[in-house]
């Protein structure tokens, strides 16, 4: 494949044009709020908006809850599959891929009918119950990424030897999982966690249809009503996504990113 890289540079230049121009334009647009001069006024307005702060805090809390629940659900499952039930691996892999096949709008549509306030499990009857349902929905969205990340991490360590060593020292299953296995999966869990954070923080469809005050619906609302603030928010969202991806690189697991997500 030794060729003159000129063609490659042309491809890169065109790609840079397409990918950088919208970023520059968005940034430039976000500075235009005051007539005749560039200013950070749009950022000041956005950042001091209590709805921004509240919805951002709300989504951050949900993202953290999603990561904790997802990790507690996936690590023991993937561990158990590796140790005792390897024949179930294809089944689990199939299930964790399903959220990439079923669009999230379809999943939340089902929730609204199965868990409405008059149902056997009324998970939309109070704000707290709906928050729980929304968090579970995000765990579902994160399944493909968390599972792949954790499963790759588990395959890279000698689970059986670690388990037998811990057992011979008298450790129970909880000690094995949380003090032996989990610390060894730190980088796998963290890289899955940052990706989950990036997905949850701006999620619009499910939060909107469950009527929760998350960051995604807030963004949409600002977009429908304001001119320059949305551009400032887009710049902020881009920086958050970039920070998440940068952190994934830093925690350093070669990621085989699960393909696609239904947004």
């Amino acid at each position: 494949m030794k060729r003159s890289p000129l063609q490659s540079w042309i491809v890169m230049a065109l790609a840079a044009l397409y990918f950088l121009v919208p970023l520059i334009a968005t940034f430039e647009f976000s500075l235009r709020l005051k007539r005749g001069e560039y200013s950070f006024e749009a950022y000041r307005i956005v950042l001091s908006d209590p709805r921004f702060q509240n919805s951002f805090l709300y989504s951050t809390t949900l993202a953290v809850a999603t990561i904790i629940i997802g990790t507690l659900l996936i690590v023991p499952t993937a561990y158990w599959i590796q140790m005792r039930l390897p024949r179930l691996r294809p089944v689990i892999e199939f299930i964790t891929m399903l959220p990439l096949v079923i669009p999230s709008i379809v999943i939340v549509f089902g929730y609204l009918h199965v868990y409405h306030s008059g149902s056997w499990l009324p998970m939309t009857s109070s704000p707290l119950a709906t928050d729980t349902l929304l968090t579970f929905a995000y765990v579902v969205l994160a399944l493909p990424y968390l599972y792949r990340s954790i499963d790759t991490g588990l395959r890279a360590i000698d689970v059986r030897t670690l388990t037998e060593a811990a057992e011979s020292l008298g450790a129970g299953w909880a000690t094995i999982l949380f003090r032996v296995i989990l610390p060894n999966l730190k980088s796998a869990v963290l890289s899955g966690a940052f990706l989950t954070f990036a997905i949850v923080i701006g999620e619009f469809t499910i939060a909107s249809l469950l009527n929760r005050p998350a960051f995604g619906p807030y963004l949409q609302l600002v977009g429908a009503n304001r001119a320059y603030e949305p551009a400032a928010l887009a710049v902020i969202a881009f920086l958050i996504t970039w920070a998440c991806m940068g952190l994934i690189n830093i925690v350093g697991v070669v990621k085989h990113r699960a393909p696609a997500d239904g947004r």
């Binding site: 494949m1 060729r3 890289p5 063609q7 490659s8 540079w9 491809v11 890169m12 790609a15 397409y18 121009v21 970023l23 334009a25 968005t26 647009f29 659900l73 499952t77 158990w80 039930l85 179930l88 689990i92 990439l100 096949v101 079923i102 669009p103 709008i105 379809v106 999943i107 549509f109 089902g110 009918h113 199965v114 579970f136 765990v139 057992e167 990706l195 990036a198 997905i199 701006g202 999620e203 619009f204 469809t205 995604g216 963004l219 001119a227 949305p230 551009a231 887009a234 881009f238 996504t241 970039w242 991806m245 940068g246 690189n249 990113r257 393909p259 696609a260 997500d261 239904g262 947004r263």
Partner: protein, 292 residues
């Protein structure tokens, strides 16, 4: 490997072994499978709960067919163009003789851009190609060219396709990079020794090996765009009637005046994304034989 190494160290009872995966299956059943099954069953029922196929016949009305059709066209166009552009970018950074730092930058940027979707992406394109966007204004002031006067509009098929490409192309780069890495140098050298031209190498060696990966990834991009809603909704409101926006309106306010027809609409979406994913998995299984 001996047989003792594969059997569990402490054989637990049947029930106890399965208890370990029970939380996952209960969770997946309640929050992934049951809600989908509910829609599946509902799609075959009339409002009184009797079995019927009428909902699927009702899908044939003009507005619903039009919604599916524009969704399919946007998804197909953004997947197809995204696949071609993604291929050239991935090939340029992997086999194109570019410096190594550029490769890691492109890969990280692809990770960011493929996740930079939804509402903020719509804002970015409005700021770029909207009526007051930077590019629109620069074209007008510098070249006297009116983009909107020439018939362009961001809130149309091409506008949305152009916007979707912002996450489709990077996704293609990410999916295709491992396959391109799998192209062995020896194949190129072997074909060169046997007298093959660059063109012959591509058409007779590299492309046949890569084609399942490329087509498979294109199908995945299709499903990715087909299920998307937030970008389109923030960009166009409900002026562009793609099927996810129609379903959103149906969930919000039963615009179809028949809940069961809504279930059928959702089921139709799942059928289309399932089909493209099944084809993807089949093609990936084929390509895995060559590309390790």
């Amino acid at each position: 490997m001996t047989s003792t190494a594969t059997t569990p160290a402490k054989p637990a009872g049947f029930g106890l072994t399965w208890l370990g995966v029970a939380p996952f299956f209960v969770f997946a059943f309640l929050f992934l499978i049951l809600p989908t099954l509910y829609l599946l069953v509902g799609a075959f029922q009339d409002p009184h709960g009797n079995f019927t196929l009428q909902n699927f016949r009702d899908l044939a009305q003009d507005s619903i067919v039009a919604a599916y059709w524009i969704s399919i066209r946007i998804s197909a166009a953004s997947a197809f163009i995204g696949a071609i552009c993604g291929f050239f970018i991935a090939y340029a950074v992997i086999g194109g003789g570019l410096p190594g730092w550029l490769r890691s930058f492109v890969m990280t940027f692809s990770g960011v851009a493929s996740n930079f979707a939804g509402v903020p992406l719509a804002f970015a394109f409005l700021a770029t190609l909207g009526r007051l966007g930077l590019v629109t204004i620069l074209l007008r002031d510098l070249f006297g060219f009116s983009l909107y006067g020439a018939g362009f509009n961001l809130l149309t098929f091409w506008g949305l396709t152009l916007t979707y490409l912002y996450f489709q192309i990077p996704l293609m780069v990410l999916i295709l990079a491992p396959a391109l890495d799998g192209l062995k140098k020896e194949w190129r050298e072997a074909s060169a020794i046997l007298g093959a031209s660059t063109r012959q190498y591509w058409t007779m060696v590299a492309l046949p090996i890569l084609l399942p990966s490329i087509i498979g990834a294109t199908l995945l991009l299709f499903a990715n765009a087909f299920g998307a809603i937030a970008t389109a909704y923030a960009l166009t409101g409900s002026s562009l009637n793609i099927v996810t926006i129609l379903l959103y309106a149906q969930i919000r306010g039963d615009v179809l005046h028949n809940p069961n027809l809504g279930f059928a609409l959702a089921l139709g979406m799942v059928a289309i994304t399932s089909l493209s994913n099944v084809l993807y998995l089949w093609l990936r299984a084929r390509s895995d034989r060559w590309v390790k």
